[in-house]
Amino acid sequence: MPYLYHTDEDRRSMLQAMGLTSEEELFDGIPSKYRMNETLPIGPGFSEFETIRHFEALAGRNSAAGDMVSFLGGGIYDHVVPSAVNHLSARSEFYTAYTPYQAEVSQGTLQVIFEYQTMISRLTGLPVANASMYDAATALAESALMAAKATGRSRLLFSENINPRYQQVLTTYVTQQELELTPLPATADGGIDDAVLRKSLGDDVAGVVVQTPNYFGVLESPWRYRDAIREAGALLVVAVDPLSLALFQPPGEYGADIAVGEGQGLGNHPNFGGPLLGFMACDQKYIRSLPGRLVSETRDIDGKRAYTLTLQTREQHIRRGKATSNICTNQGLVALRSTIYMALLGETGFHQLGGICHAKAHRLASMITSCAGYSLRYPGPFFREFVVRCPVDAQLIVDDARASGILAGIPLAKYFGDDSRNDLLIAVTEKRTEDDFNRLCDLLRKT
């Protein structure tokens, strides 16, 4: 057996020490009618070589975006991952460790989380960040529950410009607790209507949930309705693209109460959509309603600086049914990778990366709009992702482009039906070149 130590002699002597003669006896506690007599229907084991061959064959049945010219985004982005990120996160000291419950022998993991929390806090401009959630969708859903808990209110307003997949998860979570969801419809310019928002507010509203840049890439301006939300006694919850915070106003600056987002783009491969990294930050006031792990700096008895899990009484292993959430894990290893990534880029590099993606996206947008029949769907300002209205069904363009090894973007009819049949969501990262842009535009002109 691949990973077991014992020799037959080991087994014999261990059984003997217990006065047993066979391993079968170890299962005596299971009533015989439930003991399996047949073999598990999963086939025989493979050697390591056969296993690798097997998975190489499976991987060979995929055509990875990473090997093509990809304009896919929608929350998952194809950025350069520096080698040091892969090498450091492959250290088994990190990946074979468990949750840092014994702080004295977990200072590595704990300090990494502390540094991660600090970075998320600085990106979002909010003082408190937790050790991470499963992904942006569940972080967004949990922040809605958190707003309901913190305010004792039962209705949530949410923008229909939020990533449709996040909206689905939000609905799944929130409707369990008999909370009400009121959609804020998208306007023609790709934002939400302040007047509608104001009208929808009321003393039963726990929070208003928006995303910026939103799913269509458009930057929203939550500061315009921030005061109205505060006056109504509700919380402002904002989902953000972390890289956009290199250039654009952070949620803390315009008075958001909770910020969440997807950290995959910060040094992680797309991995077919998981594992991801949901980050979550909030104002100091709401710290006791916050789900997830938190790490605090402290001292040991010799006065040495050290780190430990803190405010654990919020969590399920202590408060059980009264915990702020049922979440137990955080995305430790993914958060580690993002911490390494942000450290490698640093303030200057991160700012430049944001600028590069922004400039390239605008360059491509202007190239595309100069192709006959193509226009930008929304006039609002955007960061690095935008919707193109095509003269034909966007799916046709996607199929054509794929034949040339280009992933042209996400055809929006997939989520928004026939009205969006001609809409294509395009994301640009630093990996895309002028040559890539030309290839895409050549294709668009031909279609």
Binding site: M1, Y3, L4, Y5, L26, G29, I30, P31, Y34, M36, L40, I42, G45, F46, F55, R61, N62, A65, I76, D78, S92, E93, A97, T99, Q102, A103, E104, V105, S106, G108, R122, V128, Q168, V169, L245, Q249, P250, N271, F272, G274, P275, V295, E297, T298, D300, D302, A306, T310, Q316, R319, S325, N326, T329, Q331, L344, T348, G349, G355, A359, R402
Partner: protein
Amino acid sequence: MSKTLFEMSRKGRRGFRFADEPAAGPVDVAREYLRKAPPRLPEVSEPGVVRHFTELSVRNHHIDKNLYPLGSCTMKYNPKVNEDVASMKGFAGLHPEQMGTDVQGALEVIYTLEKQLCGIVGMDAFSLNTAAGAHGELVGMMIAKKYFQDRGESRSKVLVADSAHGTNPASVQMVGYHDQAVPSAKDGEVDMDVLNSSLDKDTAVLMLTVPNTLGIFESRIGEILELAHARGALCYMDGANLNALLGWARPGDFGFDMMHVNLHKTFSTPHGGGGPGSGPIGVKESLARFLPVPRVRKVGKRFRFDDDNPDSVGAIHSFYGNFGIYLRALCYIVRHGAEGLRRVAATANLNANYLASELAELFPIPYGKRCMHEFVASGESFRAHGVRTLDIAKRLLDFGYHAPTIYFPMVVREAIMIEPTETESKETLDHFVTVMKQIAREAVEDPDLLKGAPYNTPVRRLDEATANRKPILAAPLNCPEA
């Protein structure tokens, strides 16, 4: 003491440079959108970053170093080949919005793992979309809610054993249900009388862990599940302890309607310092239509995602769950095959029972004559010397071991919950016993030694009270350049 990245930072250092770095300011965006100054990320060189994280890494206990006997966490060896498979470009580079024809291999991985898990636990359908065990429990409760709504029944109570993981009652609350604890009887199993009187018309779900957190298999499991079913309730199994059963018994055969599996426990995927995990949820055929979307279907020889399921509880993850973890778990299953998994469970139980029998004299085990994959001893006798279980746990760290799970489950006083797993040698177990005996001796002869422990760790006991009263959750914006 390790400096933080923020203390190491020097303006102008760079750990990574992009190919073309135009001095690209924002174009065409009104001033009100702009950030005043870029976020203050630390500026460190690449060698500086590598040294920093390497230095931090060695301050961790981890499985590759030594025994990690945390009960209920199944800290088994994480095979290296798993990591090679998960990092293959054809998997890691896949974008979740790629078209079906480009992701056939990935869909086959999902489809196959679902089928393998069905076979291993005796369920009819699995969804892998749940990102952790607690996430699986949550979806299990959502499914129960849908099921009863569908039948026009309003039930809202979930019975949870008092020895259950804290996630169980917390998951119950997340769907608006309420939990009620079922106490353990003297033998550590479910108290049948209390169960009988608690199972009423309002009971939606009976939630059990098998074997339970005391490492005991519920000997009356069939009777218990029949009783619950007779009262119209569904039965959910917390699969945290599945490692004890692989190839020997299947929860689906006991009568459970639903269960989750922790791929990061039973199927060797790394714990990653606290995640990512993966907690697939399996159900019997009658509940399959409630599983989260999307699901993977096989049509002829092709695989595709199916979003179209009006009965589903809905979407519960941005995409399809922690795909990178499925690869590792499937790799583990493929390496072992049927016979290999059976040997895994036998060895896990052998190691636990061997340790239990060697330790029982000094650390009595209040429940169970024989355990399965883990056992719960008590440090109660050392209280007379002023020594608590916490002190024993801290002293163990000095000998290069991680501590067992302590003070859980709450039904055992001064609980010491030990799960050695199958990937430990007899020599390691014997040495652990020797150390535990020495600590027992020290507890009597020199209790202060234990109360001051640990001594040989990167830091010593922490001031947790201050960390809780006045938490410092981020480094100060202006770090002194130490």
